[in-house]
């Protein structure tokens, strides 16, 4: 009758034990967090005495997964940025103009003079003076088109990147839909990568940087003082150029000639350089930059150019041996070494008065480069750490009280069976936290509300069963049969009732964002664990008790 196979019992206790073990780190939150941070730091930059001590705060063999705290609990900044992909369309078209001009110039006899016209930013308008040559002009421009290179374009049948049409002597060039999609994709990927690197650079814990929809990026960084601070981090652009030096002066008022500019030196006070405004090579042609040390053991940054950059750099150094050459970062001259020899191969080293940290930062900034397009911030939120701490305190207190009330009430209403349900409820919270730690879910303030709600609702499955057992006791033959029937008959109600709640949790998760999503997660997992504990754990407790005592009658 009331039988549960041994392997099932072991499995149930095994799951419970695993859940509770996974949940334990959260009880020692501060200590485990220090351990985790120290371990990560040791992996990154080697061990120090202090780090080792922190790492030892929590045994390394123990589970160390924690429930992440959301911004509303930890404090931090949240930004929703829209990437202005139109900027990229416009610059993409602008870059086409020289090519089109050259192509049409070759056909000067048939198309006449060629002129660029003003038009909307997503169109390039070219006027030709001989409308009769339109067909040929269109053909020449179409020949400039190249297939869209992206994985999405393949699905669209390998279309070309531009669309060309003409009427009344005006040729209109636009980007094709496939090219726009490809540009969007590339731009977003690049922007995501750059934002990620810049934020990682600052080294905050667990930032969230996610793409949302076609052209948006969600950025959440705990521990940042304000949204503005975060914007500053993201907005920092390291613009690196290599420019020929015209002269050196001691004041900023030197009169630069046409096409020249005066820039200050980064580490020599009162030194200014007059530079040729057009750079020989720029940071865009960099493929890599790494922190390193120069021959004197001082921190430096080594870099490598791509093929074009390497050729130009090589040519320039070959032709200008003996002249100074300025390395300019964000309108400051880092250094202006004299070219000693032809530098082929496109790699070099920037030396200056750097600390190790500065050279690391510079390398990262150079690698990351500039954002491919502007960002518009649609949503900004800053939560102060004190408010978050208050919320955690309030949440803990409320959860504790809710828990106690439910435990007392269940014991009062169902006696011994109520105590079984209470044990299951406590294990249920353990399992829930274990599960949340395992998947690294984020706990938010509504998420805490979700847990409290789970505490209230988790007893529901038990109540359903107990009420059913009570009913069966009136008719069934003996307590064992009543318990068995109670579980059997309550099951369909439990399943139906909880599936409907799961459905709403899934919808919330899919449609919601941030805190709401945190709520959906705790609600959804709370239902899973509460059904598990009610159907398996409580039942196992009751059956074990029944086997020991063999009572003739039971009261529920």
């Amino acid at each position: 009758m009331l039988q549960i196979d041994l392997w099932k019992r072991l499995l149930i206790w095994g799951v419970v034990l695993a859940g509770v073990l996974l949940a334990t780190p959260n009880v020692f939150y501060g200590r485990v967090e220090r351990h985790n941070d120290a371990v990560a730091a040791i992996e990154r930059e080697g061990a120090t005495e202090a780090l080792r001590e922190d790492a030892a705060a929590w045994p390394s063999w123990a589970p160390s997964g924690l429930v992440n705290l959301g911004l509303d609990l930890r404090g931090g900044a949240h930004l929703l940025a829209e990437v202005q992909v139109e900027d990229v369309y416009a610059s993409r078209l602008e870059a086409l103009w020289p090519e089109i001009r050259d192509a049409l110039r070759d056909l000067r006899d048939t198309v006449g003079t060629v002129r660029l016209q003003d038009g909307p930013a997503d169109e390039l308008r070219v006027a030709i003076s001989e409308p009769a040559g339109m067909a040929q002009a269109l053909e020449a421009i179409r020949a400039l088109a190249s297939p869209v290179s992206s994985s999405t374009a393949l699905a669209q049948g390998g279309s070309n990147d531009i669309e060309v049409s003409g009427s009344d002597g005006v040729i209109t060039v636009t980007l094709s839909d496939a090219e726009r999609a490809a540009v969007d994709e590339r731009t977003l990927q690049q922007a995501l990568e750059i934002i990620r690197r810049r934020i990682d650079e600052v080294g905050t814990r667990e930032p969230t940087i996610q793409r949302q929809g076609a052209d948006r990026i969600l950025i959440q960084v705990p521990g940042v003082g304000s949204a503005q601070e975060l914007k500053d981090i993201i907005g920092t652009t390291a613009q690196l150029t290599f420019q020929p030096v015209v002269g050196r002066a001691s004041d900023a008022d030197a009169q630069p000639g046409v096409g020249e500019e005066v820039l200050p030196s980064m580490d020599e006070e009162g030194v200014y350089y007059t530079l040729d405004r057009s750079p020989v090579v720029t940071g865009e042609e960099l493929v890599d930059a790494q922190p390193s040390f120069d021959q004197n053991g001082r921190p430096a940054v080594t870099f490598r150019f791509d093929a074009t950059g390497a050729r130009r750099f090589g040519d320039y150094t070959a032709q200008n041996i003996g002249s100074p050459f300025a390395i300019v970062l964000d309108d400051e001259v880092i250094s202006a070494p004299v070219i000693q020899s032809h530098i082929p191969g496109g790699s070099g080293i920037i030396t200056g008065n750097f600390t190790i940290e500065e050279s690391t930062n510079l390398a990262v900034l150079l690698r990351a480069g500039a954002l491919p397009a502007g960002l518009e911030f649609l949503e900004e939120r800053t939560i102060g750490p004190e408010l978050g701490a208050d919320s955690i305190e309030a949440g803990k207190l409320a959860t504790g009280v809710a828990f106690a009330l439910v435990l007392i009430y269940m014991a009062a209403a169902y006696g011994l069976f109520g105590i079984f349900a209470n044990i299951a409820l406590i294990l249920n919270i353990g399992l829930l936290f274990g599960l949340l730690s395992l998947i690294g879910a984020t706990l938010t303030l509504p998420g805490i509300a979700g847990i409290v709600l789970t505490v209230g609702m988790a007893v529901d499955a038990n109540v359903l069963v107990f009420e059913r057992i009570r009913e069966e006791l009136k008719t069934a033959r003996g307590p064992a049969r009543a318990i068995e029937l109670g579980y059997e008959k309550a099951l369909s109600a439990i399943v139906d009732a909880n599936i409907t709640t799961i459905i709403t949790a899934i919808i919330l998760f899919a449609m919601g964002s941030g805190p709401v999503r945190g709520f959906a997660i705790t609600l959804g997992f709370g239902i899973l664990t509460s059904v598990f504990t009610a159907i398996f754990v409580t039942r196992l407790l009751i059956v074990t008790w029944y086997e020991r005592r063999r009572p003739k009658t039971i009261t529920v």
């Binding site: 518009e376 900004e380 800053t382 939560i383 509300a449 109600a493 449609m511 805190p515 709401v516």
Partner: protein
């Protein structure tokens, strides 16, 4: 000795006055919708765009002085309200300031926030901004849309699920009950002018889930009893089913309410609106599962013979053992 919400065997009659119950519910819905139509909801910035700043200062709060200080900045519509919570000490004076969206920008500029800070620092020198949120009109428009879709989707999904597991009359009953709960919740938010933001939508969806939970438990028993008592009139079967599950319905609602009340009192002011919505939802949800969902089922009538093989699906979980 057991604590009992309801006696062991109850024989309340829920259907003799079924028209009255439906009438009460319909009236409440009309009142709720009228309040919504006349007053409208007090939308938070999630849905209308703009900026909210939560300030904290040790100085006693003078809303009037804050208002005067901010008037000079010419920020358009500014709403200042004091926040109360039993957990605040005497040196915690918290206010929420809501600023309408500024014309020129999606999100509020740092310059605006700085100017607000400077202006308020003249009234309360130690003022701190414990949180600042700014939502642009573009996003807020989308958030409304997403929220409405989410609620409709949830109700739709539930309709389909109940229809598959039961019969269409059950699905209609459950969904009318849900609409009733959602309408009454929106109604009380509009009547009391409690701030309605994104979290409240989450609460609405939870209410949908909770109310349904209750309804489904009653329906499950109805289905079982329809097979058991083939000859009895529908009214009697429904009454038996509700009475049999009454103890459970009230038990669960009570434990959930216990937990929610603890959260309402002690959970802090940040989520109070959210918890209030859920507390209210549990109350109306419990009411509606009996007095709306079951009454609608009674009104529509239902197919009686559930022992036919094509409807055996309802018992497919019954043989799972632990």
């Amino acid at each position: 000795m057991r604590l009992k919400m309801v006696p062991d065997n109850t024989t309340f009659d829920f259907f003799t006055r079924w028209k009255l119950w439906l009438g009460i519910s319909a009236t409440l819905i009309v009142v709720a919708l009228a309040s919504f139509a006349i007053q409208g909801l007090n939308f938070g910035i999630d849905f209308r765009g703009g900026t909210t700043i939560r300030t904290e200062s040790a100085e006693p709060l003078d809303v009037g002085a804050y208002r005067t200080a901010l008037q000079e900045l010419d920020l358009g519509d500014v709403v200042i309200s004091e926040v109360f919570d039993p957990s605040f000490g005497p040196d915690e004076n918290v206010a929420m300031i809501r600023i309408a969206p500024q014309d020129d920008a999606e999100a509020v500029s740092q310059a605006t926030i700085d100017s607000v800070r400077t202006a308020l620092a003249e009234v309360a020198p130690d003022i701190e901004f414990t949180s600042v949120s700014s939502v642009g009109p573009k996003v807020s428009g989308e958030l409304i849309q997403t929220a409405v879709i989410a609620v409709l989707l949830a109700i739709g999904a539930v309709l389909v699920y109940i229809w598959l597991r039961f019969e269409w009359q059950f699905a209609v009953g459950a969904v009318v009950a849900l609409v009733h709960d959602v309408a009454l919740t929106i109604g009380i938010f509009s009547e009391l002018q409690i701030r309605f933001d994104l979290a409240i939508i989450a609460a609405l969806l939870t209410i949908v889930g909770y109310s349904l939970n209750d309804t489904v438990v009653v329906f499950d028993r109805v289905r079982e009893n329809l097979i058991k008592y083939k000859q009895r009139p529908l009214k009697e079967v429904l009454n038996i089913s509700i009475n049999e599950t009454l103890s459970r319905t009230l038990m669960t609602s009570f434990t959930t309410l216990l937990a929610l009340l603890a959260l309402l009192a002690l959970g802090g002011d940040v989520i109070r609106g959210f918890v209030f919505a859920m507390t209210w939802g549990v109350i109306v949800g419990t009411y509606s599962s009996i007095f709306v969902a079951s009454v609608i089922l009674f009104w529509l009538g239902v197919k009686r013979d559930w022992s036919k093989p094509d409807n055996a699906a309802g018992n497919q979980f019954a043989n799972v053992d632990a």
